[in-house]
């Protein structure tokens, strides 16, 4: 049952994400004045499906909301209502509500979502919509039998097209039952540019043979000859649906009782209160004109993609990754054993053979590892879509005009990182709109365009993914930041006086810092930049900040592509081994004691013209000095931060799987975890961002972590 529920949640989440994406497109289309029909259909279908599955899994509240939204969307797609800002707001809010409802358990609804209030808001957002123009459909010589099988939606589209002055056509085609899919796709593709397909009617004569005749009803503004040229051939016959002589003002013909042949069927079961034996009443609804059904293509695509996709719990992938990690350890062990064998002349041949086998194993293992990593990757687009929705909402709430420019949405990153990334990104976006981008008035005074621009950009850089969030807002004032930091007691006045401009900006990452004099509901959710920074550091990432007063602010987040496995440089300090993620290693060079200088109580050396602070890890970890004659300097860098780590030996590079340190040690800073190196050796994995921070802040907190 819980597995089913998880599957439901996964599917529902996907639907909600797609909804969010489509609503943003709809919003844009509405602004641009382009056609919204396909998008409305898309959103309608999403909500409809959501309602269906919510009902199945007992998510009553979710179902209720979906139901209410579905009614709204149905009215939209049938042309009973028109798209408006207010209505879009209601739809966006609906998506928010969905998201919150998905988190709660259906058995114990959370009080966070005030459903009645939302539903009543939704109801009140309904206004009398537009009504279709008088029935022009009646003027067309369409058979009653055709009209009888149109759904309300198809009728509406037909009517819409006719009222736009489109011509109606019927295309008679004969498809083999075996190849109907491809033939149909082909027809849709050809028709797409010139016509809207309203419906497909299987003709009565076919059906029991190998082929079927279809009557395709189309609306198009193209001349008959052009349509025939595009759609004809292969026995297809196109005819124009002419207008009736003017005397036929309405569709007056009585609908044939289509069920006449089946009277021998004893009973018709209907929903309660609907007498089944009553003769079919003429439909009270006026005839609408159905429109083309481009949506169907989308449907089919969706069906097809579902058929080739398997949804997998990320934990299963984690497990596989762990197994791969264990295999990598086995491989290292075999490598070591092989080395030992080599040292014995009588076993040399065996060693060579074993080496060869091990190489093959290594290759396949790498393939396996890459394969699993690849499966874990998801495009950042999903997250960006969510952010786009927030941007829209925040901008409206704050009466700011913001255009969001997204690029690199296809950049892929580990699913787990994406999950953890949402909150920090959301916070940064909130900050950018709340504190960064100014009101249109103020922007104009500053000679900027009234509409602010928020750029969200992602790209891969080696083993890292870089995400940039840049606004063209007011920028940060280092002076204000310093004053705030002093007033909060985060930094002394003397220390502050010595800070460079960039260093001053970094103060916003200190716990307890918040520049906003008045806490707004945007950024002031009790989360500061320090939390953002910590969260990103937890993912092995760093955040860099650049800000120019009056020009804007740019935040750059650098993250590893995956957390599942990492390549590490093994170093020895004293008698202990440590693993340093290779992504943080810039270079490793021989350490020359004589080049060390002491600047303001801090040890530095000059490396190729730039000053590099150094830290002796044996001091830092309070280990007895090994007294090695030759030592090494590992230049570690994370984002813009750089420091040299003095170690006693370099032990080589190895792929490692990090194991967490466990609860009791989780507070120790500077270490990301431990790893099994094989051969019964265990190494602590250095947390490069944390370590660099500690070093550059020249604190000695790490001493506590001595083991």
């Amino acid at each position: 049952m819980s597995e089913l529920r998880e599957e439901f949640l996964a599917e529902a989440q996907e639907i909600v994400e797609a909804l969010s994406r489509d609503l943003l497109l709809l919003d844009q289309a509405h602004k641009d004045g382009t056609s919204t029909q396909d998008l409305i259909n898309e959103v309608f279908r999403g909500v409809h499906t959501l309602k269906g599955i919510a009902g199945m899994f007992g998510y009553v509240r979710l179902g209720e909301v979906a139901h209410a939204l579905e009614d709204l969307l149905d009215a939209l797609r049938l042309g009973r209502r028109e798209v408006s800002i207010g209505l879009l707001d209601a739809l966006f809010e609906g998506v928010e509500v969905f998201q919150r409802l998905l988190v709660e358990s259906p058995e114990s609804p959370s009080s966070e979502v005030d459903l009645p209030a939302f539903l009543s808001r939704l109801a009140s957002s309904e206004s009398p919509g537009k009504r279709d123009a008088p029935d022009e459909l009646a003027a067309y010589a369409l058979d009653e039998s055709v009209l009888a099988v149109l759904t309300e939606y198809e009728e509406h589209r037909l009517r819409t097209n006719v009222s736009k002055g489109m011509g109606l056509f019927r295309l008679r085609v004969r498809f083999s039952l075996m190849t109907i899919d491809t033939q149909l796709e082909d027809l849709k593709t050809r028709a797409k540019s010139v016509a809207e397909i309203i419906t497909y009617l299987p003709s009565a004569s076919g059906g029991d043979g190998d082929a079927i005749e279809l009557d395709v009803v189309l609306a198009s503004s193209a001349p008959f000859e052009r349509l025939e040229e595009i759609l004809g051939g292969d026995g297809a016959v196109l005819e124009r649906v002419g207008r009736r002589p003017s005397r036929a003002p309405e569709l007056a013909a009585p609908r044939p009782a289509a069920r006449a042949q089946s009277t021998e069927h004893p009973a018709v079961i209907l929903p309660p209160a609907r007498p089944t034996s009553a003769p079919p009443a003429p439909s009270p609804t006026p005839r609408d004109v159905p429109a083309p059904r481009k949506e169907l293509t989308a449907d089919q695509l969706a069906l097809r993609s579902v058929a080739h996709t398997v949804r997998v719990d990320i934990r299963k992938l984690d497990h596989l990754m762990n197994v791969v990690g264990e295999l990598a350890i086995v491989r290292s062990a075999v490598t070591r054993l092989t080395e030992k064998l080599r040292g014995r002349p009588e076993l040399r041949q065996l060693a060579i053979d074993l080496h060869r086998v091990n190489r093959g194993f290594e290759r396949h293992l790498e393939e396996l590892q890459d394969g699993i990593l690849d499966v874990r990757m998801v495009p950042l687009g999903q997250t960006f879509d969510r952010l786009a929705r927030i941007v829209r909402q925040l901008a409206r709430e704050h009466d700011k005009e913001v255009q969001l420019v997204v690029s690199g949405a296809e950049t892929e990153i580990d699913k787990l990182i994406v999950e953890e990334l949402s909150d920090p990104l959301m916070h940064l976006i909130r900050n950018a709109i709340d504190h960064g981008i100014e009101t249109p008035k103020r922007r104009e005074l500053a000679g900027k365009p009234a509409m602010g621009t928020l750029v969200l950009n992602a790209y891969q850089k080696g083993n890292h993914v870089v995400i940039e969030i840049e606004d063209d807002g007011a920028g940060m004032n280092p002076q204000v930041i310093i004053e705030t930091a002093i007033s909060r007691g985060l930094v002394s006045e003397e220390a502050a006086a010595e800070l460079s401009r960039d260093e001053a900006l970094q103060l916003i990452f200190l716990p307890g810092f918040s520049t906003s004099a008045q806490v707004t509901d945007l950024s002031g959710r009790g989360v500061g930049m320090d939390v953002v920074k910590t969260n990103i550091a937890r993912l092995g990432g760093v955040i860099d900040l650049h800000s120019e007063l009056a020009t804007g602010t740019k935040l750059t987040i650098t993250l590893p592509v995956t957390l599942a496995i990492m390549s590490a440089l093994l170093v020895r300090v004293g008698s202990r081994e440590y693993a340093l993620p290779i992504t943080a290693v810039q270079e490793a060079i021989a350490f020359e004691e004589r080049r060390v200088r002491n600047v303001e109580g801090r040890e530095v050396l000059t490396l190729r013209g730039s000053t590099l602070p150094i830290a002796r890890l044996d001091h830092l970890f309070r280990l007895p000095p090994a007294g090695a004659a030759k030592r090494f300097l590992v230049v570690a860098s994370v984002g813009q931060k750089r420091a040299g780590l003095v170690v006693d030996a370099l032990e080589g590079q190895q792929d490692i799987v990090i194991k967490p340190l466990g609860k009791s040690l989780s507070k120790v800073r500077g270490f990301a975890g431990a790893t099994d190196l094989g051969d019964q050796r265990v190494a602590l994995v250095l947390d490069a961002p944390g370590l660099l921070d500690e070093i550059l802040a020249h604190e000695r907190v790490l001493g506590e972590a001595r083991r």
């Binding site: 009902g55 419906t199 497909y200 009565a204 059906g207 079927i212 209907l270 609907r274 449907d299």
Partner: protein
């Protein structure tokens, strides 16, 4: 939705269920199959449910096969029309699995009684 319908019919009726992803796929199955009951959604890709019902009723083979039409309750017009075209029953989504299986049982037993 299809999986849901299938599960409901299989579990409660022990029925052997064939499934078509679209109106066309259903059409393709028609000449080969003989069913005791057809469940059809108004909104299907390609051929809509109404068209399929109309087609079934015109075909020799399926003229008398009971049909349950499912759709959203919002589309009263579609449900009315489906019944006119020869559906035996209408069920508004969302519905409980029991509702469908009970309805199906009722229709099937009446069919047997009438023979």
């Amino acid at each position: 939705m299809r999986a849901f319908v299938r599960a409901s019919l299989e579990a409660d009726l022990g029925a052997d269920v064939d499934e078509a992803k679209s109106g066309f796929e259903a059409l393709r199955m028609l000449p080969r199959e003989a069913w005791g009951l057809v469940v059809v959604d108004v909104n299907m890709p390609d051929i809509n449910g109404l068209e399929l019902i109309s087609f079934l009723r015109k075909s020799e083979r399926h003229r008398n096969t009971p049909v349950i039409l499912i759709s959203t309750e919002a589309s009263a017009r579609d449900q009315q029309r489906g019944l006119e075209l020869g559906a035996d029953a209408f069920l508004a989504k969302p519905f409980a699995p029991e509702a469908l299986s009970a309805l199906a049982k009722g229709i099937l037993s009446r069919g047997e009684a009438g023979q």
